[in-house]
Symmetry: C2
Subunit: 216 residues, 2 copies
DNA sequence: CATTGTGAACAGTTTCACAGCC
DNA sequence: GGCTGTGAAACTGTTCACAATG
């Protein structure tokens, strides 16, 4: 099967595989089976094979998967075989934490510009980045060729910020505000609502249930 | 249909409905149809009705749904018709941002205890909360009757922290570390890996695609 | 001969279409 | 008339089982 349009569920798991392959590579492991991968991530071997087969013919029957090769192919499929510049809008508590978050750089995500509405913050620097007015989103994002953004502003302001980002040419938005964004449909958005994740837990805890997960 | 075991996909959307109903209530709207709700959240009317019907018989044919009544019922179904105390472990940049995050309190989530491994932080207070050593998780969580926790520590430390929380009686864990947690299966975990969400965007942006979403 | 890739069976989720109700 | 609740149909995603293979 050739990659043309992977289901969302699959692409989420591809990230998971890459994470696990990184860990294996660090430990010097060179080969891994669908069984071992599945074990580590709480997935069935069959699902692992289906997922990986949907990206390409990446395994070696009787042997398993070459860790380095597989990781490289998956990164290529996900588009993370290169660095991505990110624009961050909203440098409050959450935004500041995102700037300092180590995990992004490790996965090739580089916050390259930061914006905030508050004039008191304009011109200040955080981790070497100068905070700019949101009015400059268009100019800066265009000049730097930035295509991904994160929104960490209050819910009321999120749609306005999204509009500016889209107008500036951003193609993917990770949104931490607790509202859905309305954007052109050639722009991807993913909303991470922290309270929603807690509500999942309260539901399952309330109706005393089984089943831990891995995955989002 | 009576609530006994709602599918995960449904419970995620219940949170979405509650969010939208709150907004409608603020605007003084008292009645809403499945069509309007679906419109606002990017869902089909049929799906909205199926979801709501799976919680109970909540609508009025020919009229729609009473906003206040529906919100109350959904909150009851999710277990968020009361406040929940949360233990936070890891008071680094992300942890601090979570403590200050306004959205949690609005949804009834109250961070009631904070822990960190770093002795330099012990005894300091953030937003009125004293940071305690992780060794005290058992005592404090037990005494306060805390059943939910958030983990915002480095990946290497996450499993150890999870073990302490589970031993202390925590039943649901929201995990921000980029590793899956291995816990007893009467304990719920939900892992939010920020880089994974960006990887979803890079995938769709790389293979220039359509379709914004709402939802996680 | 252990292990992949995959068609076929199965499970879960979404959409359709319409009877029943306000 | 407008709108819900729901069984049946369509679709999507997961698991099984086995032929193919280095």
């Amino acid at each position: 099967m050739r990659t043309s349009e992977l289901p969302r569920a699959v692409t989420y798991r591809l990230s998971l595989y890459v994470r696990q392959l990184n860990a294996l590579a660090r430990d010097g492991v060179t080969t891994v089976s669908s069984n071992e991968l599945g074990q580590a991530l709480g997935l069935t071997p069959a699902q692992v094979r289906k997922d990986l087969a949907s990206v390409g013919q990446l395994g070696f029957p009787g042997v398993g998967y070459r860790v380095a090769l597989l990781a490289a192919e998956l990164r290529r499929a996900l588009g993370t075989d290169r660095d991505w510049k990110i624009a961050l809008v909203g440098v409050g508590h959450l935004g500041s934490a995102l700037i300092r978050h180590k995990g992004f750089r490790e996965q090739g995500f580089v916050i390259a510009a930061t914006f905030d509405k508050d004039p008191a913050l304009h011109g200040r620097t955080v981790e070497g980045l100068t905070i700019r007015p949101v009015e400059e989103i268009g100019a800066v994002v265009g000049r730097e060729g930035i295509r991904l953004a994160m929104i960490a502003v209050p819910a009321e302001a999120a749609q306005d910020v999204a509009d500016r980002l889209v107008a500036a040419g951003v193609k993917g938005i990770l949104n931490f505000a607790a509202v859905g964004l309305d954007v052109r449909d050639d722009v991807q958005t993913s909303t991470v609502d922290l309270s929603m994740h807690l509500e999942q837990l309260t539901y399952h805890v309330t109706s005393l249930k089984r089943g831990g997960d891995h995955g989002p």
